[in-house]
Subunit: 185 residues, 2 copies
DNA sequence: ACCACCATGTAAACGGTTACATGATTAC
DNA sequence: GTAATCATGTAACCGTTTACATGGTGGT
């Protein structure tokens, strides 16, 4: 399962341009799937080549022509197969947690700063998900995915907020007791 | 930050072979960083080429020679720079949540099955993290990272366990009311 | 019998990120 | 003036995954 599958997926909700698909990704999937233009446009071109989507161009002034994509019946079939056949993976790749794991090798301010950055990133996301869960027109699965984000990011946020002070204090303490071990940073 | 950085990181805790490094990754990072032999061995070779680690070979019977790697002072410096200079990213890529998002396009049993698979994957991980948090010899940052895993995976587990039945019921209900819209799956 | 563990590596394929190229409009 | 929004695309680069290759030991 890759960006192509996601593109087919959002096109089941209606025709869209590549640009709109990206906004769609940002609105709905940002907490579990990220894709930039550099992967969306080539994905759409490939889907088109395979006959899983069609596109019609709309002329515009002062901009490149808009290309509105639609999913084909064959595309719907392939999407169904992909969704049914792919094992449900769930991967986290966190350089933030790597940083935390090796916190004893870093200046405590750096550790505190990294935590603050994560809080700044997660807090608005949780708020947005909370907001979007008030919408009554969501499909059950969409609500489930958004609810997951709220629950899990909420827990992450609460955990780092609660643990930050103690961690930074412990690190500073360890430094004060054994400053030689940190030489050369 | 990539597998090379992580290798340097675990080598600060003592000399290790590539094989041991992988076990180390599995024990300590499995909930936020995954790496296979296919990325660890080339990473070690590259670090060696750059003089950030050294290795000595130990002959063995019936197996390839063991290569024990040690981090060099230069390697420690580069590790520090990398850790200090990298922005703390945190990425989730969840095909499981994609599946949930498009649940209405799938047979409800498939959705239930996917949830069960995630529970089967997360439950032992949470137990393991819980267990490892009882170890008093962990560095504060390591405890923080493990605690994060327990809190967040625990929340994920609780969320999917609590929401599974309702989601599956809603999906089955929607199918019963409008079976035509799901034709062709 | 078969699988897991130990132990190292290579090579191709795959997919995603980043940077580049273009450019008008609108809001702060 | 500066940045964001709309709108598409290419190409080089990077890193990971997967499959292959080899093979003895110990447990169920």
């Amino acid at each position: 399962m890759d960006v192509k599958t996601l593109c087919l997926g959002v096109l089941t909700e209606g025709d869209k341009t590549g640009y709109e698909i990206k906004r769609c990704f940002e609105d709905a999937f940002s907490h579990f799937f990220v894709a930039g233009f550099g992967s969306i446009y080539p994905a759409l071109a490939e889907l088109s080549r395979r006959g899983l989507v069609t596109s019609r161009s709309v002329e515009q002034e002062g901009r490149p022509d808009k290309k509105i994509y639609s999913i084909t019946p064959e595309g719907e079939r392939v999407l169904g197969d992909e969704l049914t056949g792919t094992p449900p993976r769930h991967k986290v790749r966190s350089e933030f947690l790597v940083l935390m794991y090796f916190a004893h090798l870093l200046p405590p301010e750096r550790v505190a700063g990294a935590i603050d950055q994560m809080i700044a990133q997660w807090a608005p996301l949780v708020a947005e998900l909370e907001d979007c869960l008030t919408d009554p027109d969501m499909a059950p699965g969409q609500r489930f995915a958004a609810g997951y984000g709220r629950a899990v990011l909420g827990a992450a946020l609460a955990y780092v907020r609660a643990g930050k002070a103690a961690l930074v204090a412990e690190l500073a303490d360890a430094r004060a007791r054994d400053p030689v071990a940190m030489a050369g940073e």
